[in-house]
Symmetry: C2
């Protein structure tokens, strides 16, 4: 469990921590790789969520994955970009939490992943939680906690 | 200033926070874009530091930058990859700190950047500081701080 005082400085609320779906760049599972590559290049994202036509979360697609798909030892086969669907090569093993997530779980997952996907219980994509938001909270803790509270070592007091 | 108690949980020391140069994937300023693209694809990095032949920090190169360089409205010109040097298109506006950095500065910069470069006063590349390391510290604070200390609100006490 995360202590209440730390939690209140770390995030405003679980809800505002989530960047809502409508503000997140995504690609469709049936889009071709050329479309995905153009979006990643233009928006300068390393990886984006892949949704089906019902806006359900299906996977992640990254530029390295796209490049690996069209490269072989000899050459880069750019002509394949228009033929392959995102759903064929996307990464299906993505980190996600439900909307009623525990902050504790998200903090652990963000050590290894740049963002965590938020889905509802039917798998519909609701948004993402980014490292940047938690780092804003870490800054607040670093600057305000010892100003706001008097802190005593429990062991010292017990003696 | 960051309070000492928070700081001790957030990081072990400024020194161990830095991932040393020899463990970081980098490319040379005179490497061609095909080499950089292969490294980014194989190692699945979004962006890597660019060093000169003396191991001085010169910039950053990312996959979107490489793709933008060889794409125009009509087509992707893959044949150009072997002709263009990394130094011609790299991003020279990269975030960095000196080895004697303040944790406070790093925390602020990591809200906007995935990693911060560490250089010495002559510009030699010494390593990087990643968001992941700070998030490990955030996890320690979240889990251990209120277990370890008794915390009292300063305003309540003043009343």
């Amino acid at each position: 469990m995360i202590g209440e005082k730390i939690k209140r400085l770390l995030i405003e609320s679980e809800k505002t921590l989530v960047k809502p779906a409508e503000q997140v760049a995504v690609v469709g599972v049936k889009n071709r790789l050329d479309h995905a590559l153009l979006l990643l290049t233009t928006d300068k994202y390393a990886v984006v969520p892949v949704l089906d036509d019902q806006s359900r979360m299906r996977g992640l697609i990254s530029m390295p994955t796209i490049m690996q798909t069209i490269m072989d030892i000899q050459d880069v086969h750019f002509e394949k970009l228009g033929e392959i669907e995102v759903g064929e090569v996307m990464d299906r093993d993505y980190p996600y939490v439900l909307e009623e997530f525990e902050l504790e779980d998200v903090l652990h997952m963000l050590v290894d992943y740049a963002f965590i996907t938020v889905v509802d219980s039917d798998g519909y994509f609701k948004g993402i939680i980014t490292r940047s938001e938690i780092l804003k909270g870490t800054n607040r803790i670093a600057h305000e906690f010892e100003k706001k509270y008097i802190i005593k070592d429990k062991e010292t007091i017990a003696q």
